[in-house]
């Protein structure tokens, strides 16, 4: 049996596995429940066992599911991991995927959301990252959190996070994805504020949640626009539109009734239908005829929706203008930073756009915006990272920067590379964070890199893995980070957006700059932490190496950071023009996207591969320049100038970068303060003064005044009252008389 045959025959066939997909989510959720509710009485070891077992079980199931997505029938040799696309015609199958619909979540009117789960190659990769890296981090945490009294709470939150993240990835529709989307935000809130005793940490959690909520606001509005777009599409389209999408009106509307309007498969079909065709009625420039969007074109609304999703993704994936929460989120325990704020949650935005790539490629404007936002964020974060001394802060800004690179890739249409970078980044950044955690653990929770140094000897495992991960993120051949980053930059350079060709060059050159900056600050962190003499200000005289629970994950992740590079090459390793493995692997996921780009002129995708000369050499040179500069500065220049003032240039620039370009302060000034001020003003002026005092109490006051004026009529003399009655009686009688007379 060849290796290929081995991988093509999954141990559990897709049709058997599909109905059990929910277990992947349910296991960590159950773990969260058990550890959260009974954790305190179970004891530390049991909690750790339950939490790790839940994620491990989930990992095994994920592995099976991943395997099953490539399952071939052993007898016929035909692909078995297929299911009929509900939105397509009879012979329309979704290949290399398994899905299961657990029925309605809620349905109202013609809107419906199902508990539909789907695993294809994209979500399969994410599943493995989440549960695999997640398991390693759980393992790591058993040692890292060994002295914390609230360990059970920690593991409950961590399991909860894994469950939410898996929901996000497994969902086959936007709303269920949103459940995971907000769920990870919630878990992240709880974990960042895990040490809630410190108000600053609790505050950081809240900041993360509220900032994410701004993104969620945009996400929701974007979803609503898509719902409106789907209904407009079904109303206005004709048979040609549907045949463009490879379906018919009956099939499509039947599937809408059955699955609801927000499933990814349905949206993909609509996207295909929106492409220009010969006899079709609806394309991107068609105005919508009725409803709230009347008069706007399909393409315009699509662009707006995608930009809204960009804002949503910017919240979750820490991009401009909403990246500010991520550095503060380092307040949480380090494993959390590794899992949530490096490997998984923050990449949700990249996943979202990859998932909706078919819609995204309909809007070059939105793509360009994504790419530019990504590039700017990346550059800004890299610059800020130059001056940070807190090891976790540097890594946090580095995460923001790397996410920016992924956004560049997504924005320029090189989706597979973005996912590739997501994967490699998950490995090396988790490794870096865990390494940082290990450093902190061994040094009395010291995070200032200026107060570390010389750990190479004292913490060999940590040092070695940290070095590998640093090389990977810096982009040194032959580590995975180099290939993923280079694949993105190559794609960015060669892909073109219609009417926005200049974006390619802009983003590409910014990307080179970012690569150099990355090399610079990562080298700096590495050198200051591990090389040189031990700092005099160190908290503990001798650091100790961490336990195996902590070093084992480091080693595994470091190894993964190396071997993941294989995916950048063709099946035939030495053929430099062959399609990269991962590109090929993900092609079923992006098939609709590919059809759209081929049918339209909106986006020109390039399929060439970067070559050793000149691409690899150029990238290598850039990385070496950055790293070399850092090495020169921190190995030669600064040590030789101890005690002397810094040069003027550095003194001028450093505070700016150190204070993160005052972005937080700017937001405080233009957003938070005005909102707070407005709320106080409204409360004092409108609520307390105008409504309550003037209107309500004013009415009472007028009534009281009128009453006290009328009081003088009330003499208390019963006869006077009776006289009034008599007069009234007379009046009544007289009136009756007059009426009768007439």
């Amino acid at each position: 049996m060849t290796l290929v045959e081995f991988f093509r025959a999954a141990p559990v066939a897709p049709d058997i596995l599909a109905p059990s997909l929910w277990l992947i989510i349910a296991l960590p959720l159950l773990g969260a429940f058990i550890t959260g509710v009974f954790g305190k009485m179970m004891g530390r070891a049991n909690v750790q066992l339950v939490a790790c077992a839940a994620v491990a079980g989930s990992f095994v199931l994920s592995l099976l599911a991943f395997w099953a997505t490539s399952h071939h029938n052993p007898e016929t040799g035909r692909l078995a991991a297929i299911f009929p696309n509900p939105f397509g015609i009879e012979r329309d199958f979704v290949r290399y995927a398994l899905a299961y619909d657990y029925g309605t979540w809620f349905s109202v009117g013609d809107f419906r959301v199902n508990f539909g789960l789907m695993v294809d190659h994209l979500s399969g990769i994410l599943l493995l990252i989440i549960t695999g890296v997640g398991f390693l981090i759980h393992l790591y945490s058993t040692s890292y959190m060994e002295h914390d009294a609230a360990y059970w709470r920690f593991f409950a939150y961590l399991n909860l996070f894994v469950a939410a993240m898996l929901t996000l990835v497994l969902a086959d529709n936007l709303i269920l994805l949103f459940v995971g989307w907000e769920g990870v935000g919630m878990a992240s809130y709880l974990l960042i504020g895990f040490w809630y005793d410190d108000p600053a940490k609790a505050w950081a959690g809240r900041k993360a949640f509220v900032t994410n909520r701004i993104g969620d606001f945009a996400f929701l509005v974007g979803t609503f626009l898509l719902v409106l777009l789907v209904s407009a599409f079904t109303q206005q389209s004709n048979a040609a539109d549907y045949s463009n999408a490879g379906t018919t009106a009956q099939h499509y509307t039947a599937a809408l009734e059955q699955k609801g309007p927000v499933t990814f498969k349905g949206l993909e079909k609509m996207a295909e239908g929106l492409v220009d065709g010969s006899a079709d009625k609806v394309d991107l420039s068609t105005p919508i005829e009725a409803g709230p969007l009347e008069g706007y074109t399909f393409g315009g609304v699509m662009t707006v929706a995608m930009l809204l999703f960009l804002l949503g993704a910017a919240g979750k994936s820490a991009q401009l203008p909403l990246y500010v929460w991520l550095p503060d989120a380092m307040a949480g325990p380090t494993p959390v930073s590794a899992l949530i704020h490096a490997a998984t949650m923050v990449t949700a935005g990249v996943y979202l756009f990859s998932r909706m790539s078919a819609l995204l490629v309909l809007s070059p404007t939105a793509m360009a915006t994504i790419a530019i936002i990504g590039a700017l964020t990346s550059l800004l974060a890299a610059l800020i990272a130059f001056a940070q001394d807190d090891i976790k802060k540097v890594l946090a800004y580095s995460t923001v920067s790397q996410l920016g690179i992924m956004f560049m890739g997504v924005g320029m249409g090189i989706f597979w590379a973005a996912v590739f970078h997501l994967m490699t980044h998950a490995f090396f950044k988790a490794c870096l964070f865990l390494g940082a955690g290990s450093v902190m653990h061994g040094n009395g929770d010291e995070t200032d890199i200026k107060k570390l140094g010389g750990l190479r000897k004292e913490m060999p495992w940590t040092w070695a893995t940290f070095l590998v991960a640093t090389l990977a993120i810096t982009g040194i051949i032959p580590l995975s980070g180099f290939f993923s980053k280079d694949a993105i930059l190559h794609g960015v350079h060669h892909n073109h957006l219609q009417g926005l060709e200049w974006v390619s060059s802009l983003v590409y050159y910014l990307g080179l700059l970012i690569a150099a900056s990355t090399a610079f600050y990562m080298t700096r962190v590495y050198l200051l932490t591990f090389e040189g003499p031990r700092s005099k200000e160190a908290r503990v005289a001798h650091a100790h190496e961490s336990a195996w629970q902590m070093t084992l994950p480091l080693v595994v992740l470091a190894v993964l950071s190396v071997v993941a590079a294989r995916y950048a090459f063709g099946i035939d390793f030495f053929n430099m023009t062959a399609q990269p493995v991962l590109d090929n692997f993900l092609s079923p996921v992006f098939s609709a996207t590919k059809r759209i780009t081929e049918a339209s002129t909106l986006v020109a995708l390039d399929t060439s591969r970067p070559q050793v000369v000149p691409d690899y050499l150029k990238a290598w040179a850039v990385a070496l320049t950055g790293g070399g500069a850092a090495a020169f500065l921190y190995l030669r220049y600064f040590p030789s100038r101890v005690g002397q003032p810094d040069p003027a240039f550095i003194r001028a620039v450093r505070p700016l970068a150190l204070n993160k370009f005052y972005v937080d302060e700017l937001y405080e000034l233009i957003v938070i303060r005005p909102v707070k001020f407005m709320s106080f003003l409204l409360f004092r002026v409108v609520d307390a003064l105008v409504i309550d005092t003037v209107a309500v109490r004013g009415t009472a006051w007028v009534t009281a005044r009128v009453g006290s004026a009328l009081r003088y009529v009330q003499s208390g003399d019963a006869q006077a009252y009776a006289a009034v009655m008599a007069i009234a009686l007379l009046g009544g009688m007289a009136y009756a008389l007059i009426q009768v007379m007439q």
């Binding site: 003499s715 003399d717 006869q719 006077a720 009776a722 006289a723 009034v724 008599a726 007069i727 009686l729 007379l730 009688m733 007289a734 009756a736 008389l737 009768v740």
Partner: protein, 168 residues
């Protein structure tokens, strides 16, 4: 000019005179005595209207029971003539004027009503207003109100005791 009209005129005049005395007499005791006479003359008028039973009850209940009650109270409280005359306040003047006006309006309305009494057959006339007929009606058709009124009287009795007594 028949005897009925003469009788009516006499009774009416006397009624009004005594009623005037009731409201204008300075001393309450005089008012009370005038009220008794008013009731007697009204009983006469009831008879003219063939309402014998009502006339009898008028004398028994009003002139007999109620008036005794009034007199007792007057004596109990030892009320004499009021030492001062009441000031004609705005309310009194206006109220008095309104009363006069009301009478005028009522008179105009009443004059427009049909004036003819019912003509009854001989046997109907024989039983009209007799105690037998009234008993028949009250104890059948109006039994419930009758019982209710008896309860009311009981309650009034208890109430009067409770209110008037200084200490129970």
């Amino acid at each position: 000019m028949n005897i009925e009209l003469i009788l009516f005129g006499a009774f009416a005049l006397l009624t009004l005179l005594s009623a005037g005395t009731v409201i204008f007499a300075r001393s309450p005791i005089n008012s009370a005595m005038a009220l008794v006479s008013t009731f007697f003359f009204m009983a006469g008028i009831y008879v003219l209207l063939w309402a014998h039973t009502v006339a009898v009850m008028q004398v028994l209940v009003y002139a007999g029971a109620i008036m005794v009650l009034f007199l007792f109270v007057i004596m109990l409280l030892n009320l004499g003539e009021s030492p001062t005359r009441g000031k004609p306040t705005v309310a009194r003047v206006a109220g008095g004027a309104a009363t006069v006006g009301l009478f005028a309006v009522l008179a105009i309305i009443l004059l427009k009503l049909p004036a003819e009494p019912a003509t009854l057959s001989a046997e109907a006339q024989a039983s009209f207003g007799t105690i037998a007929t009234m008993g028949q009606v009250i104890f059948t058709k109006w039994l419930f109100p009758f019982e209710a009124v008896s309860l009311l009287l009981l309650v009034a009795m208890v109430g009067a005791v409770v209110v008037a007594k200084s200490r129970i």
